[in-house]
Symmetry: C2
Subunit: 176 residues, 2 copies
């Protein structure tokens, strides 16, 4: 269990931050320096592929964490950008402080480890969906697992999350 | 640093195991109970997609670890199988023992955490390659990052790793 003292130390490293719709928190090619906790609003992680197509990898809503995790792990330039989808109230922690907390608070390392587990499961499910499912199946799965994405976000973002055109998404929506 | 005593404890939980080519260590649909360390040989993790196509997700050579990680994390039936590609000398640890070691040896948890990091980076690169690269680019990247897969393994396995037909793989090989 995390003691009140350790919790106070952890929270002291987070800085509150309000960001507007469409603000970019990290650009593809930069090294990721911060992790964001979403208090209110929504962030998305996306990349532009070689055909110039916008692909959304992950969407973080309230009480979720958003970071360019590969760049955090490898300290290499991020292959993705982080963008504000809805005006958001965030808590930001620098990666220097994030790593420092792991050295002084064992539960913070455990938290990171379980965050990695969730990220791994999520990414594998995405990988499986791209290699085993067609567009309709990907859309049906999204509706089941993460209906908020379909209900709350513009078609443009939903389409880029399941990697279809907006026209295809409209057809899929009318089929269900 | 890991003390000699802790190392001895960790090793005492691993059981040596020799397995023949094509042996199945875990079948899609079973709950993953063991993690394998490859001393010699090669294992692959694969699944059969809905069209009946064989897709290889990960290949573990010497000194690498193979497990159905999502099943280990979620304790749900595995979406993939583990198969012996070359006759292999393995060390196996049960997941009960794996988790027990995390509670008694902090460095074992750290090891697991850094294993998760590597698995996450690897899977994300795979996800990016399926959404941003064509077959030729995937093959070129594989040659650069993991040439052993192309050099050591049969065409059938290589093709299923980059998700192309064996005919396409032969064409790609002749182009490079």
């Amino acid at each position: 269990m995390l003691s009140d003292e350790d919790l106070a130390i952890i929270l002291s490293y987070f800085k509150p931050l309000t960001k507007n719709k469409n603000d970019i928190l990290l650009s593809q090619g930069e090294i990721s320096q911060q992790t964001f906790f979403v208090g209110k609003g929504c962030l998305r992680m996306f990349f532009i592929n070689e055909e110039g197509k916008d692909v959304t990898r992950y969407i973080a809503f309230e009480n979720q964490i958003a970071t360019a995790l590969v760049s955090f792990i490898t300290k290499q330039p991020a292959m993705e950008s982080i963008q504000v989808v809805e005006r958001s109230e965030l808590l930001a922690i620098s990666h220097i402080d994030f790593n420092y907390l792991m050295t002084i608070i064992p539960q913070w390392r455990e938290f990171y480890c379980s965050y990695l587990e969730k990220a791994y499961v999520n990414n594998t499910n995405r990988l499986m969906s791209f290699t085993t499912m067609d567009a309709f199946e990907r859309y049906s799965q999204l509706l089941k697992i993460n209906p908020n994405i379909v209900k709350r976000l513009p078609n443009k973002v939903v389409a880029s999350y399941i990697n279809v055109s907006q026209e295809t998404l409209s057809r899929l929506k009318s089929k269900t």
